[in-house]
Amino acid sequence: MYRIFTPLCALALATTAHAQDLDGLSVEGLLAQAQKEAKVTVYAFTSRIGRVEEAFEAAYPGIDMVTFDMSSTEQIARIKSEAAAGIAGVDVIYISDAPVVLSELASQNLITPYVPPRVAGVLPDQFKSPLLAQRLSTKVLMFNEEAHPDGSPVKNVWDLTKPEWKGRVIMVDPLQRGDYLDLMTEFVLRSDDMAKAYEDAFGRAIDLADGIDNAGQQFIADLFANDLVLVGSTDDVNKAIGAKGQQNPPIGFTSYSDRRDNEDEGWALQVANNVKPSNGIVFPAFLGLNPKTSNPAAARLAVDFMMGDNSETGGDGFKPFYVAGDWPTRTDLTPHPDAIPLADFNGWQIDPAQTVTIRADVADFILALQ
């Protein structure tokens, strides 16, 4: 017993002591220890992780990557529970839902940042701290390009509150999906822009109703009052807006990158970019480590791999994420040829720390509306 116990203790101590040093190591420096660990477990919020697993195992034979595809909400619940149970179930966490991740995981030290030194120089600071952002995703206004070949029928988000769009604006219930609550929160945070856009749309200054504090809230209230249609999943929104052969399709908020399914699914989804004051939000997908990881080197190697290699498109590790509508955070990768470059995209980039300050209040505000 004693004999087994001592080396285990020593190993545990060594792991803690080395964690800081490991952060500075290059891929070559990590590799030997990672091969000894021989395993790395990843929780990911996308099914694309399956293709990462294949590519990783091909690139680093002998290190088994075990991946689990589950929503960010599930991951958060699971990570909290595992921490409470004292289990190190996961090594690498690939997750969206930034405001909740920062306020509930990072603040409790349940997820720890790691920026691979290889890519540190090509990442803007905002994407390195408080956690490493791997790519940016969206919840933005999309329309049916078959029914509107000349471009978006909506040029100002306030148009959505006009009678011609009554019952024809669709999105996922913001009280069931965090991304959509973040979108609603952003409208409130950008109330000044919203007030200006109102003047453009209606030709007069905005007049706030009783009990409403700002233009963002007014917009949400007017949107709900205009018989907004709520559904349960992004896929339902895509289908509703994108399905071909519709005379008068609805418009609504969904992911820009879902356009990639247009051909497979028979959709005609297109993003409405020229919308005042903005078409929606752009938010990060985080890569982080479990601070209690038992495979610290392999975990870092996996994060390095998922940030893409030194080629123009990031190579096999980044390939599943190199699609139109998702932008890499690395500045040295060539933008996807079919996508609007991030610099020209009209979406607001959320500031998760700001979002989290009023997110619950916005949720309550919406709750009182429906």
Binding site: T41, T46, S47, R51, V66, M70, S71, T73, E74, I76, A77, R78, S81, E82, A84, A85, G86, I87, G89, E104, G167, R168, I170, D173, L175, Q176, R177, G178, L181, V229, L230, V231, G232, S233, T234, D235, D236, N238, K239, A240, I241, G242, A243, K244, G245, Q246, N248, P249, P250, D261, D264, E265, G266, A360, A363, D364, L367, A368, L369, Q370
Partner: protein
Amino acid sequence: MTLPLRRRGQLFASHGLTLAMALILFALVAAPLITIAIQTLQPSSGAQAWGDVLASRLSPNLFWRPAANTMLIGLSVAAGCVLLGGFLAWLVVMTDVPGRAAIGFMATLPFMIPSFATALAWGSVFRNGRVGGGGGLLEGLGFAIPDWLSWGILPTILVLIAHYYALAFTVIAAALAAVNGDLIEAAQMTGASRKRILFGIVLPVVTPAIIAGGSLAFAGAVSNFAAPALLGLPVRMQTLSTRLFGMIEIGQTERGFVLAILLICISAVFLGIGNRILSGRRSFATIGGKGAKPRRFALGGGKSLLAVLAWSICFLTTVLPIFLLLAASFAPSSLALFSNWTLHYWIGTSDPAFARGQPGIFHNPQLISALTTTLTLGVVVAFTANLLGILIAVALTRHKVPVLSSLVSQLSFLPMLLPGIAFAAAYIALYGAPIGPLPALYGTKLLLALALTAAMLPFAVQTGRATVAQISGDIDEAARMTGAGFFRRLRAITIPLAARGLVAGLLISFVNIIGDLAITILLFTPTSPLLAVLSYSYASDGFHQFANAVTLVILVISMFATGAATLLRGRRRENIA
């Protein structure tokens, strides 16, 4: 005050079982719930959550309206299920309607089709343009479907009736089959009319089953999430379970727990009334040691009409949804269900140009491991839950102890009222961390098995009760007087006589376990997912064809289980006869 030793021994013999069951139920059901209750009683956040839910500007939308919808759905579904299930059970067991065996088999199927599949099937026929994407089948044919028929409370109720009537059918049919043929024969010989026999003999005898079936349907309907989420959301109809899910989903866990507790309270009050009726009457015992086979009514003139009605019900609630599901597992586009069919989603190999490179489900290495885990878990949990169920049923009917009995009865029914997701959360809250010397169970199959066992108890206990309640105490009494011990009596009398009810109970639990998602989604062990979890993760990634294919695998297993159970039952009957 000391009791004579013999008296004390008797007391233990009669109270021991009830006490043991109460303890097991405490660990399985009460303790996790107390844990979440305590969490909502934390001075700051908890009190705030109670205030928000019950008395704030939010409460109408957070609680009162969803609660009203929930009650309306629960009561309508219970009534509908008892009518539909009872009608079919009567036809199958008591009459000479043509194709009885097939109707009996089909009437148990709807429960195996996940309610989200039935809801989707409803949508594919009745949906209108409100959510875009073109309408359903009927709009395609040129009918204008109003919102109230496409979305909201009416479709939710109808879909849930179509899903849960199988429960009422199974329970009522088991009870009807146990109606003593002698009684009916005697009544017929003395010239009682059919109506008289129905209302004078049959109905009173199956009352426990009707109440049990109605209760199961009510409880299932009020905690169902899939149907109101899919059909209610587009018109912003909320129930307590969709609200609860939403609160947990956006991280407002305390409010979610408060809603869970309120949902339990509301349902407990309602179901307590049913329970009282059940346990307040002792005169249900009808299975004597011997008895003739049940008599069948000749239907006469109305026969074909009733047969057509029964067949239509079965067709609409089983064949049609399954067919739509099957079509959707072949069709590349969900908009054109009947064109370009392919087997790729079942047996195709990975092709980057198709379905984003996903191989067919039979090429997914996780499918086989998920299959094994699901079956093992299903069998183990079904047996454990039903063993506990029959013990609890015996304790409740034979060893009534004031207070304790009603506690056991209430506790065993509680899990039914809990949305699986809240129940799973409660389990994690309690057993997720080490308790004293016991290790944390989080991430183990044991935790999953425990939670599922607890979740299945209502079914196990209700079906067990409906059967045990009918077994005459005389035989048990006689055996006890001749010196047979408790387990001997259980093995030689209770279990054989209750076999039919037990098989029904096992079947319901097994099918329920392998189709469960709400609980497993939070508790499954990452190393070995379950079929339902696999189906869900396909669906949540937009791979609907794959999700439908896995759902059909679950369905096929369920149908085999039902088929086996039907055969088993048939053989038993011959043996007895």
